[in-house]
Symmetry: C2
Subunit: 319 residues, 2 copies
Amino acid sequence: MTAWQRLTLFSFPYYEDNRAAYTENLTNYHTFRVSGYDATLGYVKNSVVEKFPWPKEYWNIDAQLRTVTLITPAGADPALRSKLIQESIGEAARQETFKVLKGWRNENYPVYAPGGEYIFEIERSAACLFGVVTYGAHMTGYVEDSTGLKLWIPRRAKNKQTYPGMLDNTVAGGMCTGEKPFECIVREAMEEASLPEDVVRASITARGCVTYTHVRDVRAGGETGLLQPEVEYVYDLKLDPSVIPTPGDSEVEEFMLLSVKDVQDALARKEFKPNCAVVLVDFFIRHGILTAETEPDYLDIVARLHRRLEYPTASHCVR
Amino acid sequence: MTAWQRLTLFSFPYYEDNRAAYTENLTNYHTFRVSGYDATLGYVKNSVVEKFPWPKEYWNIDAQLRTVTLITPAGADPALRSKLIQESIGEAARQETFKVLKGWRNENYPVYAPGGEYIFEIERSAACLFGVVTYGAHMTGYVEDSTGLKLWIPRRAKNKQTYPGMLDNTVAGGMCTGEKPFECIVREAMEEASLPEDVVRASITARGCVTYTHVRDVRAGGETGLLQPEVEYVYDLKLDPSVIPTPGDSEVEEFMLLSVKDVQDALARKEFKPNCAVVLVDFFIRHGILTAETEPDYLDIVARLHRRLEYPTASHCVR
């Protein structure tokens, strides 16, 4: 476990480790709530609460209870909530209140209430201001031959808005409103890596998910200390050596076929985007490369890769 | 997810779900401590604390703080602590204080302090009285052909002390003091399933671990409500169809090669030993059989399979 990987998995404290420290840390945040739902949907840093130009008509800020609540009329639906939140964020963007909103994406991420009920969507670049859970799908493409296992690793384009030039998972994408993880990863595989849909569908396997709370630091750009609770559905794709991923859009600069040792060295050199490093650690554990006998913090890492999040999460069940 | 599987994964509450309920539940237990270490090593049910014939020379019971502390002289080592605990448990067994001690195993389980330091061992049948973390290794043997994936499932001997006649993982065993997970599973594969060491070493792969807190109920026999925090290292072994596991000792009655559907049906009928059901759920997730699109509680289950335990745990690193 390198210091780099620790940064994401070890950045937000656990109640189990130190009850007082966990509780103390939360005093730096307001809980984000929506009227009609008895749930904490996210944590908003106190400094964000202070600067945000909250429209008073539909936001209630309680400094005592440290809550930020979107107040909606009875009968509000996801469209109305999304509109009110979009207006609020739009105004903050116009006033240039937050650096993170300079990276406006025009992509909407869904937010869920207890029971997996979809209740609104939020502009991607603003999700970290509210500390809501976001969802993605990450796939590791690899080949295996007599010389061992090799992974297809892309380098992000130098002009990408976030983490430019860093290494990434073979295919990865955020899940917008309405998307299911499997269809998301199949689509991204074609768009980002030019992997034909029939090849992907024939060989891809769902392998679980990783969940953690990332605390944004300087590497992400913009305000620091913002919370990003993330769910990444993980997939493996064992590829025939004849199949070569190639950049399909402007997101990726190149694909390299790296040995496990090469990937581990790049991880140690902090060349991977942080949440992609997390997915690779999970891959190494699932493939018997990182084991209880080789990693002193094995049990700690396995648990931290699957944090039980403090927020309601999605159900993507289609049955 | 069947009600059966929920019993183990869903039996001990999470702080994240309901802070008050979590804290309230803990008032039913004393924390188990050892002098010299600032850590909760386990939880002892209040009714156990009341009945246990604690030798006053080296136990301190604080009803106010709800602590049970083994008091040892400065310079105490694992051998001394183990001896004192063994004496105490032996006396309780002679007095027939607890039903669970009727299943005396003469096997010792290790207990660790923060940092993975081994500090004493405890008779296996008494581990649940103290609520200390125990460790095991579970392996799923399977074959894969054009008709799909099939799992080798054993039925436990009818005269086995615990969970007689129930279904189990292909190979599984508790880890005694000094054992490492990989060597444990290789040994058990020969003893329980007559799988040759060379076959196992050539094809077995470490796949991570599952961690959870099992609350003992009537099925386990003996006192109920005792806590069993468990770490199970999980392994997969893809077998050639020509390799047939056969009972190697008196623990297993027979091995059956079952389809995924057969295993799922047996899980629904509650035929599996509870912690083996947990390992199978993890297997189904890792093999893309249980997915986000087919299981409404997918995220909840994945996190619960990897509980961050409230206690210090082992490091089995040999480097």
